[in-house]
Symmetry: C2
Subunit: 314 residues, 2 copies
């Protein structure tokens, strides 16, 4: 199928254009127990649904339980999902465009991670290396070690890292962490889901001025946005560590239709963050995901990604 469409521009090339906002869409791979014949169909339907969005890359998450990070009961039960690299290799050949494969590095032996990094086609695959979700989690590979392994493989894949406005609100040093990650090779950042615009702007601002102060070119900062169609999803977002301001919690709790309410909030957030980043000359982008697998929420996510495309192209 890739042969029918013009050869897509590699993600690394996209990153060199700082004036052009990135547009990503994230998927959690199907659950491990999914029958093989369903996997092909899921992949096909997904590709057809996402193709009109003209994305710069498809993001594939590497799901961890994360229950070690939060003592509260996980609102949605943890379900083991396919390895994102395997799902890509085995089922997403029809996608044709770039993919960004997350790696929760603590899950892997260093040798396995290095092998995987070395085997990927840098024209097609970028990676986001993610450290452990808590400092007490048992890990096979630490983030700094994973970054070294990436360097050992020639630093060929575009390397992304996570940036967390909530951590910045607590410790006010996330911009320093970002600069250290950039020194280690990171060329783009993806946030966790953003519902608190003030906190997101605080991070953008501190990062922008820190870059200026040190004479460093800021890297793309991609904000993850996710609709929230039910109170259960809201609870799950908060369980994941997303800070939802009180007024917005109230609004979603009292809305006759929380899905369209959250959709409007996400669209408004994209517009406000775009204006803010442009003003500060921070290259940016948006990543749309659905944290739940309810059909209406996935469909609203696709609509949101389309609205963001229109916003950025207008």
């Amino acid at each position: 199928m890739a042969a029918q469409t013009p050869e897509p521009v590699g993600f690394g090339t996209r990153l060199t254009d700082l004036a052009r906002p990135l547009r990503l869409f994230s998927l959690t791979p199907p659950r491990e127990a999914t029958p093989q014949e369903d996997l092909s169909r899921i992949a096909e339907v997904t590709i057809e649904r996402l193709r009109p969005l003209g994305l710069d890359a498809l993001v594939l998450y590497d799901i961890e339980d994360e229950s070690d990070r939060n003592p509260d009961v996980r609102p949605f039960p943890f379900v083991r999902t396919l390895d994102p690299g395997a799902f890509h290799a085995d089922y997403l050949s029809g996608w044709g465009g770039s993919v960004i494969i997350y790696r929760s590095v603590g899950k892997y032996e260093p040798a396995d991670l290095k092998t995987w990094l070395g085997e990927q086609d840098p024209q097609r695959v970028a990676t986001v290396l993610v450290g452990a979700s808590s400092s007490s989690a048992p890990v096979r590979t630490r983030l700094a070690e994973a970054q070294s392994l990436w360097q050992d493989t020639g630093s060929l894949l575009s390397l992304g890292s996570v940036a967390i406005p909530e951590r910045h609100a607590r410790h006010t040093n996330e911009h320093d962490r970002m600069l250290r990650k950039q020194e280690a090779g990171t060329s783009f950042f993806v946030t966790q889901v953003v519902y608190d615009l003030t906190w997101a702007k605080d991070l953008v601002s501190d990062y922008a001025y820190a870059c200026r102060g040190r004479g460093v070119e800021p890297a793309h900062l991609v904000f993850t946005l996710s609709v929230c169609g039910s109170l259960k999803t809201l609870e799950f977002l908060q369980w994941l560590g997303v800070h939802v301001p009180r007024w917005l919690q109230n609004q979603l709790q009292h809305a006759p239709d929380p899905l369209s309410e959250s959709y409007e909030q996400c669209a408004a957030a994209a517009a406000e963050l775009a204006t803010f980043c442009r003003r500060l000359d921070v290259p940016f982008g948006f990543n749309v995901e659905s944290v739940s697998n309810r059909r209406v929420e996935i469909e609203a996510s696709v609509r949101l990604a389309g609205a963001i495309r229109d916003l950025l192209e207008s």
Copy 2:
């Protein structure tokens, strides 16, 4: 001069129209050491400057040192100012419109406060009773006692109270405090200076839903906005307990012209809060003040009040 203009509508009458946003402007009375001949001139200039704004009331602050509340050095030195009631009685007869006289109740003996409350003309004067700035401050009259004294004088003056989004962010019960103040007779609220819109919206939202839950009609919530023309003023706002988000601190610190930067932020805040309150059916208003007495900041405050008038009438 009042005879030349139509008899103004009393502030109490304004409060009964929940659909109409209030517009206030605040003054700190001149310093005690001001020569008497200058006081008349200051009053005259002020009245001429404010008359075109069509305000619902002029607010006169009752300044306290507040150094007991904050161990940090006060960025602007504390200067004793005229009693707001005396300044009004002796110099502001030309104003003609309503005034809202603040009373920091801890400064007064109960008997003096009661006498003052009983002597005011409810057609011209409303009051905001303010409790001590810290729980450790020595007080002559506590807020609850002052509210009783107001009731003893027949509850004739329109009674206002302060509402503090920053306190809500810390303790998440400011809406409960507001409802208790309403039970004690409060018919409008004035915030301290607002620079954090999320925190202001959090308070509006919790207050709105608490009112609905208890079947109480919400009272006007008047947001105080103040321009900030220098880093010294920014420092003073923060000393006063105003939360300025990091991004906005950065923006003011790096702006070639912090005054016009803060002016834009205040105007945008007014628009956003008006939309938000209308959506939640909370009656609202704006109070513009200048926390510094620099001429350019006072002039920008008057311009801001004019812009807010235009916004609310459009």
